[in-house]
Amino acid sequence: MSLDAIPIHVINTLPVGPGLTGNAPPLLHEISELLRHLLATGETAAIDLSALPLTPADLDWLHDKLGEGEIGVTLQASGESTLNETACPGVWWVTHHNEQGAVTSQFIEVAFVPELVKAHPQDVASGQEYLELMIADL
């Protein structure tokens, strides 16, 4: 049965294109809600993109809609990870790769700064130790 047979008129049609499932647009609403929550409470959140039924085309669509922001962070830790701000500040597109370059997980993180970017106090302490040793050896 086609939609014409029932008296319902679809106003917002889903994006059409090869490989598009229509599962990506609702995510934009969720991200918007998470941003509102971040501003109100300071609480961060993340959406696990690999846990959702999104085709590569859906991901491209979403990536395209969110756009590119000003900051891009590259992390070299058992494979490359990229944490790129989108055109909406506070929304980060986080992609983890393994050593072979395959994507192991992908998130949209809603935060002022993603957790991974921050240095751990313990690491800062050992960095400082190293610096002091270096100064002593000068």
């Binding site: 090869p18 499932t21 696990d48 846990a51 085709t55 830790a77 058992s78 072979q100 313990q122």
Partner: protein, 359 residues
Amino acid sequence: MQGPLIDTLVRQGVSRRTFLKYCATLASMMALPPSAGLAMAEAMAASRRPSVIWLPFQECTGCTESITRSHSPTIEGMIFDMISLDYQETLMAAAGFQAEEALHNAMKDNYGKYLLIIDGSIPLGVDGAYSCIAGRSNLELLKEAAKGAAAIVAMGSCASFGGIPKANPNPTGAVSVSDIIKDKPIVNIPGCPPIPVVMTGVLAHYLTFGSLPELDDKGRPKAFFGETIHDRCYRRPFYDQGKFAKTFDDEGARNGWCLFELGCKGPVTHNACATAKWNGGTSWPVESGHGCLGCSEPDFWDAGGFYKALSMPADPLKIAAAAAVVGVGAGVAVSFANRAKKGAAKKAHETTTLEDLEK
């Protein structure tokens, strides 16, 4: 994030960020909320090494291959360093009496505390003579090792459900671990072979929470086996839209549509292939264009043809019987469906058909 495990990792040159990244990915694979990654990282960082004894029984070593060949050197590999693997015949250098001594020492020293991993089924035929190690049957070894184990992990479909050795007519009388051991917690990690990260995930859970993860009715960790391949398949939207590949080289196959009609067992198979993928996240069966075989389900080998759609009766003998009873009924319906498919394939000028594969 502090503790023995992270300290060891940092000494080996694994940064905290690497560990955090690993935990984020692991949490994603375990279908935990994204926030769980950080919590897991903190708990796991502080854990200690448990003793692990790994006994291989009637198996093909595919499970060991799967675990050890997960792209190296990985953090998964390092997590394995975090356990004290006291006995593993395929990996250890010791042999003969020395090896058996190592096993007995590990069992004695860690009595009641070690984790026992079993891969392979246990043959009961001819008093277990089909598979022996050091002159003793698998059954005898399992019973002895299980006595002092805190918990048992049945690795792979053979240890979990009997697997291929148990396939009809089961010449060796193969059974699973849970058919024999009744008084210990058992985690089944089926799959032929199982996914490496599932193994690491169970270990990570054991290290993080000091307990085994929540299990489903078949003894499998819900985190990885809670949903079907179909539930998490990236081709699922095409199923919902009714877009199916009808042969392996038609337009639907080229467009990456759902493989249900080509016999994909995704809808009835609980496993994490769709999210964890294989070969270091490169791909997985459905992504490479082939339906799921259902290898993590009991008796998958005898569950009918790999290329028969699930909506078709699985057992040809049962079809014949049903047709004989009902008269025309089922048999005609099946042959009619096959003929329709043949016709469609001919029209699309396809070279490979279901009938070819089922011959």
